[in-house]
């Protein structure tokens, strides 16, 4: 890893999942620009407080870690109303221009996930101009008290914009209260913060290793891209940051001038409701019949055990899980990371350990899409087609996203789906269409690349409630065993989209240019 990035120019949420850096609470606020000139002044004022990716620490020339962080991003409409020149605006990608709502057919946001069912702020977005969402501001804080401080600061800034920007209300909170903001926080267990979401899974383990963003070379194992010789290398910076060379050896398509795009990226903001009662009931029902029991079945849904994220390819049953747990407990930070992240599916090509419809195998098939059937093998087997592609990870490397975000709400009654609980996920990528949308459409809501027809990813798939389009998944078994595969039938919709949009996260330089109105595509 030789590349050095200008961390002072890159916004902090690009580099850091804040939840893992001592910021367990956050608030997402959305604004509408009512006046271009005053709006730009507001952006300029906020920019002075925006948190960068710079390394924190004590000592000379070091930047102290802030009590709370500020980051900012814009929709296409927002950039338009901040009066960027048309010649710059047309350089943004078409899906960013269209926005998440208009991409519902691609994303499979149908039925209970359709935009009519979204929170009011997202339902009303892009309907009438005055309700359009323009600016995203995220505040992450060490404590709830500090979060309130940051919010009071932001309210003051909005006030001082003199009508330049207006706060948009319309996030549904507890008991469907309409809130001015989206609060998120880590899930607590026995008074301690966890990395879990509301279904009980440890989340956020497999963030990609990126050239220039990932400091520790050990971190690249299982997280970067696998090379033809089996070694691992970090993914090209340009997969996640505009203005840098990507995996195709070119600068990602981006708006002009280059300073507007460089060190910026696209962000997908998605609020996902979790149907905890339906999940529990479905898991309990099938857990009664599933050989290996309920917790193993829960692990089969995702590819990792719920309690600590142990990957099924390393811990496919309770006995190996016990051994894995002992290793994990004894390991240092680096060892833990390798245990949890350093693997492919090459030793599990038939899906006997981690099924092909498991969440983790679908969103990141790692270097294991290079597979085929061999008529000489036992029926039900698939195998690696060694050397078929130029590198084993060829079909996966350009489909990765950086995942940020935290759960929202509390599960107060696990017997009900309709509480205020879910996750806000923010995914960063240089090409929304090639990365996020592709994974969502082809790998989550469809299965052909996994030789699974229309079978969807178990957890996030947009499973239909209509019997005529019932969703199922096959939990594969060892082709050399005497077991039958297990069929998960009539999978209910476990996760529903409640809103979101596509944002552009500019660099600090670009923020200053936008604020001063000097964006010049010439």
């Amino acid at each position: 890893m030789t590349k050095k990035l200008d961390l002072l120019d890159i916004q902090g949420n690009v580099l850091r999942p804040y939840g893992r850096f001592g910021y367990p609470v956050a608030r997402y606020v959305f604004l509408h620009v009512s006046d271009g000139e005053k709006g730009r002044a507001f952006v300029g004022a906020v920019t002075k407080s925006v948190t960068t990716s710079v390394t924190w620490g004590a000592g000379p020339d070091q930047v102290p870690q802030p009590d709370w962080t500020v980051n900012i991003a814009f929709t296409y409409q927002g950039l338009k109303d901040l009066e960027l020149p048309t010649a710059s605006l047309i350089g943004f990608s078409s899906e960013f221009v269209a926005g998440m709502k208009n991409r519902k057919d691609i994303l499979g946001d149908d039925g209970p996930s359709s935009p009519q069912a979204w929170d009011p702020i997202w339902r009303e977005n892009r309907v009438t101009r005055e309700k359009d969402v323009h600016i995203f501001i995220s505040l992450n804080a060490h404590t709830p008290g500090l979060l309130e401080d940051s919010y009071a600061w932001l309210k003051g800034m909005i006030e001082a914009s003199d009508g330049g920007v207006v706060l948009l209300s319309g996030h549904l909170g507890d008991n469907n209260a309409v809130m001015d903001y989206q609060d998120v926080k880590v899930v607590m267990e026995n008074g301690l913060p966890t990395a879990k979401e509301h279904f009980g899974y440890v989340d956020g383990i497999g963030d990609p290793a990126v050239e220039g963003l990932t400091a520790d070379p050990q971190f690249v194992l299982g997280r970067g891209k696998q090379m033809a010789d089996g070694s691992w290398a970090p993914l090209a910076t340009g997969e996640f940051l505009l203005g840098h060379i990507d995996e195709a050896g070119e600068y990602p398509p981006a708006p002009n001038p280059i300073l507007l795009a460089r060190n910026g990226t696209y962000m997908v903001y998605r609020k996902l409701h979790e149907n905890v009662a339906t999940f529990d009931a479905y898991l309990n029902e099938h857990g009664k019949h599933f050989p290996g029991g309920k917790e193993l079945l829960a692990a089969k849904f995702v590819g990792r055990w719920r309690d600590n994220g142990a990957p099924l390819v390393k811990a496919p049953d309770q006995a190996s899980k016990d051994a894995f747990d002992a290793q994990l407990a004894a390991a240092d930070q680096q060892g833990r990371d390798a245990l949890l992240s350093n693997f492919t599916y090459d030793d599990d090509m038939s899906g006997a350990k981690c099924p092909f419809s498991a969440h983790m195998r679908r969103i990141n098939p790692r270097a294991s899409l290079e597979f085929t059937r061999d008529p000489n093998d036992v029926p039900g087997s698939l195998k690696v087609s060694t050397g078929a592609f130029d590198t084993p990870g060829a079909l996966t490397n350009r489909r990765r996203v950086l995942r940020r975000g935290l759960p929202y709400g509390d599960v107060k009654d696990r017997s009900r789906d309709d509480g205020n609980h879910g996750i806000v996920i923010m995914m960063l990528n240089a090409d929304i269409n090639r990365q996020f949308e592709f994974v969502q459409q082809q790998w989550i809501n469809y299965g052909n690349d996994f030789k699974a027809g229309n079978d969807k990813e178990i957890l996030l798939g947009n499973h239909s409630a209509d019997e005529r389009f019932a969703s199922k998944a096959v939990i594969q078994v060892d082709p050399n065993s005497d077991q039958p595969p297990y069929f998960l039938s009539k999978i209910p919709r476990l996760v529903e989209t409640r809103g979101g949009d596509y944002f552009f996260v500019p660099s600090m330089t670009a923020l200053r240019m936008i604020a001063s109105g000097v964006v010049d595509p010439t």
């Binding site: 057919d105 691609i106 499979g108 995996e247 195709a248 050896g249 070119e250 398509p253 038939s350 899906g351 092909f356 290079e370 597979f371 085929t372 059937r373 036992v378 029926p379 039900g380 698939l382 087609s385 050397g387 078929a388 592609f389 130029d390 060829a394 079909l395 490397n397 350009r398 269409n433 090639r434 592709f438 459409q441 082809q442 809501n445 469809y446 299965g447 052909n448 690349d449 030789k451 699974a452 027809g453 229309n454 079978d455 209509d466 019997e467 005529r468 389009f469 969703s471 199922k472 096959v474 594969q476 078994v477 082709p479 065993s481 005497d482 077991q483 039958p484 595969p485």
Partner: protein, 225 residues
Amino acid sequence: MSNVAGKSYAMNVITPVRSHLAWVNKVIFWTALKLPSTLKGLITLSLIHYARWVIIGKHQFPHLAPEQPKEALSYSYMLFFSNFNGSWDQYVDSFTFAIPSGLDMFWKWNIRYPKSVALTPFHKYIQYNQIETLHYYNGYPLATSNDVKSAKTVKDALIAFDQTAHEGTDATFLKRYHTLLRGLQHDLGDMYPTPIVSMSAYQVERRTRWHASQLQANPLKRGQQ
């Protein structure tokens, strides 16, 4: 007119190649067919039904009637024809991600071929030289090539299973039934309409109409709701 029928996409790309170099392409095609290992990547990309490359000499274009004006062509042409599942992007990208050197080998002598990596110039090259499909029929609009292969596997396995289904005890039947299922564990994917691969209004409407007609043709039975 549409490039898309059901889950399939038909792509025609015709690119000029210098006539005195066209024989090199023919030798490469011939060699590739003789050495199947060179096509391993192509075959492993299971979204592809097939792909075919043909050289058309500059005097080989059809002249259908005396009144058809004769064209004076400067080049020979390479016709690339493929049917695949998924979107244009997914297909072209899979090619360049997985087998860029193979692509470059086939197209190397074509005029202004930019190489398959970087991606944007390659996308443009294909777009500029693609001929839209005028008529496209698909006998199995819900099926991908993987689905067709799986259906054949399932059918053959079921027929074989049925030959001896009546023999043996209940216990051996169950054991054999489990073996059947295990052997078919990668062949039992659902077949429903395709994810949207083209945002053309025609494709979006046609998909919606298909869905509606399915619902009408298969009303819910009593008790299913």
